[in-house]
């Protein structure tokens, strides 16, 4: 029975933490003036489709590559369009007065150079591209746990809180480095008295390595009856 309970708890954790990050074959980069460490896949799509033009209050200017593997991967992973469809979309905006054509360059190096020198610029490059002078943004998405949790450390549940039936769920945003280590953790919500313990445990977690930084939102439950 005890083993069954442990299995169920473990399964619950796996479901909870497997929520929301995925890896792509491209890195998202931004000019250092962009005040963000991460961006959601939805925000990224909205920026490139010119539905919005700011990120965390910073005006953002997207740049696209004319062709190449990074361009193909970006279209497939984030926009869900072919290059022809994207070009038609931009042309519709441009020729009806409803938008502008994004800056278009030829290579990863050109993207990095343009993003580095242009305030508010955001772009994408292949995972192996050198990204000196720009900021790499983690991308979060709700498409499911492609970033596998390898090592989990259980949070400390203070005895006096558990005895007094003080529990609840702490929600955290976890920034995971490409090598799988947790860079830092932000508190999103939940019982603050338990947050420190949850964050300290999650800082020690280890995920599978990926091509770029990612973020995910997780929930850490504290059940007094556990």
């Amino acid at each position: 029975m005890k083993h069954l309970k442990a299995f169920l708890v473990g399964a619950g954790w796996t479901i909870l933490v497997g929520a929301s990050a995925f890896a792509s074959e491209v890195k998202i980069i931004a000019n250092p003036s962009v005040k963000a460490d991460s961006i959601s896949a939805h925000e990224l799509k909205s920026l490139y489709l010119e539905e919005k033009n700011s990120l965390n209050g910073t005006h953002v200017e997207p740049v696209i590559e004319r062709r190449g593997p990074a361009h193909e991967a970006f279209l497939r992973d984030y926009l869900g369009q072919t290059d022809d469809e994207l070009q038609r979309y931009y042309q519709t905006l441009v020729f009806t007065g409803k938008g502008l054509m994004p800056k278009t360059v030829s290579s990863d190096a050109d993207v990095v150079a343009y993003v580095a020198k242009t305030r508010g610029a955001i772009g994408y490059v292949g995972v192996s591209a050198s990204v000196e002078g720009v900021r790499t943004l983690a991308v979060a998405d709700s498409r499911g746990g492609e970033r596998q949790l390898i090592t989990r450390v259980e949070p400390e549940y203070p005895d006096d809180l558990q005895k007094r039936s003080i529990g609840g769920t702490v929600r955290l945003k976890v920034f995971i480095a490409a090598n799988g280590g947790v860079e830092h953790v932000d508190l999103i919500g939940g019982n603050p008295i338990l947050a420190e313990s949850a964050a300290a445990a999650v800082q020690k977690w280890k995920y599978a390595a990926a091509n770029s930084k990612t973020t995910m939102e997780i929930s850490v439950p504290f059940d007094p009856k556990r």
């Binding site: 939805h42 909205s46 539905e51 919005k52 033009n53 700011s54 005006h59 869900g80 022809d84 070009q87 038609r88 042309q91 519709t92 441009v94 020729f95 009806t96 007065g97 409803k98 938008g99 502008l100 054509m101 709700s142």
Partner: protein, 394 residues
């Protein structure tokens, strides 16, 4: 005629090979984008002359258009731009350039923005892009809903829009809305002006207040879009009949349009229905009533990297008070169309299109491509047409 054919060949052979790029320059520390397009067509018909061209002999190449625009971002939220457009389609346009659009857009948030100036009217799937040949598989959009000779009726308004995208959730998709109000003014080289001028009168103006909206829903089913548009108008048609200045005012004028589009990988399927009602009269006494209903179903498929094929069935008819007296071919048009589009480069396209039409509408009332002035011998009930069109854009 031959000039048009030569133009078609020239556009096809020369410009298709040009590595065309958008031109940018800096003005007052702002990047200004320049874009443009041009197309040249040729039309041959089996019987009736079509679209104010003499198409039934050798054919006609009086089917040219081009445009260019400049736009720039002034501030994070403010953008301005303008586009000039010129066309020569038989007796329409006549090489007189027009200000296609010229507007300022201020976007407060993704879900609320405003734009003002001369604005292309958002209506149905293609109203605002109907002149942009390179965006469409077909050389001519379904004429039941997008009659190219009568395009001035719905194309643009001088006024303002509010617009936005309202994301709901992944479960419910995105709603996009546009509401507008402004003034419509038909060109003296438009279809209705051509009709009036060839009816022994002298066209002075046709236009007035225009307002309405569009609501479209990108459904959670990937690739499926549905929408509805509405336009109301308060119009005045002013012309000289001999020495008499005649003014017809609309007592009721509206358009409803319903549409849907489904795209999946290389397949795109469109369907639209439009009903247009107008009642023009003098001091409330009806003189001209039109109740035009059109619909089409179109499909296109990309069979190779640079090749698309498409087909549509387009139908419109008029509920005319004396429809029982109409002769065969009158009051309707059924148009079956097949198309091949080839894109030899990223900046050029060539289209070959066949139309098989039954009917010719009501030429003296709502011409929609067929005019008595171009067919003095009378109309035949059926018309087959070959359309060849080549275009470039940058």
């Amino acid at each position: 005629m031959y000039r048009g054919v030569l133009g078609l060949i020239f556009v096809s052979l020369c410009l298709c090979q040009a590595p065309m790029q958008a031109q940018d320059f800096t003005l007052f520390d702002r990047d200004v984008q320049i874009h443009g397009f041009a197309s040249q067509g040729f039309v041959h018909t089996s019987d009736n002359n079509w679209l104010t061209m003499n198409t039934s002999g050798f054919g006609s190449g009086e089917f040219t258009d081009f445009g260019a625009n400049a736009s720039t971002q002034i501030t994070d939220k403010l953008r301005i731009g303008a586009q000039l457009y010129d066309r020569n389609l038989g007796g329409l346009g006549r090489w007189h350039p027009t200000l296609d659009w010229a507007l300022a857009t201020y976007k407060f948030t993704p879900w609320f923005g405003i734009r003002g100036g001369k604005v292309k009217t958002v209506m149905g799937l293609y109203n605002d892009t109907q002149d942009l040949d390179f965006l469409h598989t077909f050389a001519l959009l379904p004429q039941s809903v997008y009659p190219t000779d009568l395009r001035d009726v719905t194309l643009a308004h001088t006024g303002g829009d509010i617009f936005g995208d309202v994301p709901m959730s992944k479960r419910f998709g995105t709603l996009s809305y546009t509401a507008y109000a402004g003034h419509r003014s038909d060109s003296p080289y438009s279809g209705f002006a051509y009709l009036v001028n060839n009816d022994g009168a002298v066209f002075k103006s046709f236009g007035g207040l225009q307002y309405g909206g569009d609501l479209r829903w990108a459904t959670p089913l990937k690739g499926l879009l549905v929408g509805v548009s509405r336009m109301n108008e308060d119009l005045t048609l002013d012309f000289l009949n001999g020495a008499t200045d005649v003014r017809l005012n609309s007592t009721s004028d509206w358009t409803n349009q319903y549409y849907g589009q489904y795209s999946r990988k290389k397949l795109v399927v469109d369907a639209e229905y439009r009903r247009y009602w107008t009642d023009l009269g003098i001091q409330g006494v009806p003189m001209i009533q039109e109740d035009v209903r059109g619909w089409y179903v179109a499909g296109s498929f990309q069979i190779a990297k640079h090749v698309q094929v498409g087909s549509y069935f387009s139908h419109y008819w008029l509920n005319y008070p004396i429809s029982g007296l109409l002769s065969s071919g009158t009051g309707h048009d059924y148009d079956k169309v097949i198309t091949v589009r080839v894109d030899p480069t990223r900046f050029a396209c060539i289209k070959l299109e066949g139309h098989f039409m039954d009917g010719y509408g009501l030429p003296d009332q709502y011409p929609n491509g067929f005019y008595t002035a171009n067919n003095p011998q009378g109309f035949k009930p059926n018309t087959n047409a070959l359309v060849i069109k080549a275009g470039v854009h940058f």
